[in-house]
Amino acid sequence: MSPDARDPARFIAALTRHQPALEAFCHAQLAQRQDAREALQATCVKLWEKSGEWDPATEFLPWAFAVARFTVLSHLRDRMRDRLVFDEDVVLAMTEETETAAAQFEHRREALDTCLKKLKPEQADLLREHYLAGRAVRELSGLTGRSESAVKMTLLRLREQLSVCIQRQLRLAP
């Protein structure tokens, strides 16, 4: 246990509850799964070290986002520029919007659940192989016998379709 933690049980409960939103924040800032995981890990370590500074009477997430901002920036500076998707100034400029979206993570995920049910099985397979299994477009093209541009286009269509659907679901939510 952190010697300074005011209420370790509450801290752990809050961290566990909000970890998905923190991961979403890291992913949105870094746009690479592996980088996001490393930044999340560093964030959790840092939060634990600073757990004594968190006042359980205040909201956990804004405090945790502030810590995550620093670990993300530190991660960006450790990486070669050509391996990054976003430039550092862009990441800084996007921070507020990213926090807003990441704070809604659970709602967005629930909306996504509904939207995914509307996909055909092969569409869900394609998303799984690309985003979860990490198969590149070229590889998917080889596996499916479809052209790379057709695979690319399908993935873009699906992402845009899901984005529109999520926004619609959120508007419909009570």
Binding site: E122, R128, R157
Partner: protein, 317 residues
Amino acid sequence: MNPDPATLEGRLLALLQAARDAHDAAARTALNELLRREPAARAAMARLMVDEQALLDRLRDDGIVSLLDSAPAQATMTAARPARWLAWRPLTAAAAGIVLGMFCTSVVYGLVAQRATVAKKLPLPVYDPGLENAESIAARGVPKSVGQWGADSARWVTAEHGVQPLQGRRMLRLEPIPRDKNVRNYASRVYQVLDLGSLPPPASAETAEVQVTASFHAANAGAASRYLIRAFALSETPEQATRGFWPKTQDDGVVSVAQRFDTAPGAGGWHTFSLKMPLPRGARSLVFILGAEPPDDASAEASPHYLDDVRVSVLIP
């Protein structure tokens, strides 16, 4: 619905795909400029990326649920969804490689040669499948337990010599074994053992197969390359199976398949190959070996090869 390049989301997604997945530098610059210039683009991008994480989260959960769902055995099997294209296409992709030979096959379990269409593909938990963990080579040769990579001569690298990792930030560089070294086999290999003891019942059905898939890239694309995938199924636990491993492979009770894959000179880029092997009933461990072989011509200079994205699955008809 078509992706609409006129919409902000459509533009952002297209630029992101080109910058991140295709490493298109111009697209990366354009994406960052758009985000700098337009506050609405920043808000949309933030939403898209958070939704992408939600998608990853959800797909990951689905994968776990599908593994758990397979436990109730036959009832689940009969209710399994029909095969979809991604379940069997890797086999086609494997066949597209130039297969030079298949050797060392000994089957004692009376396996059925005719394979039905694959109805379910259960991914097995390969340790560090993306070869991202620079600490994970724990053994020389076959490792003694699960959760480790073993290697003859290999090291983790990030992009080098114009070769980008197929996925993630790192890949494994298989170093050529010097010709003057006194070894029986000059292939540079990596090894891993998997525990099959906890497979759900359908995976131990008589007609199940195991599929090992890996991607290779030659440092010298101008030369022909030869790769090797080999798998052994043993009835012992991983710890027992890897003790005195090589003599055991001569035993009739061990099922093994090896396959070589050749790429022609000039065939650059990543090549993904798969090997399929009948999975004997009662198998408790699987040892698989991935390697790059030196050129046949001993006077030709051997160069490194790269390995990334290793997957092992059980295919259940």
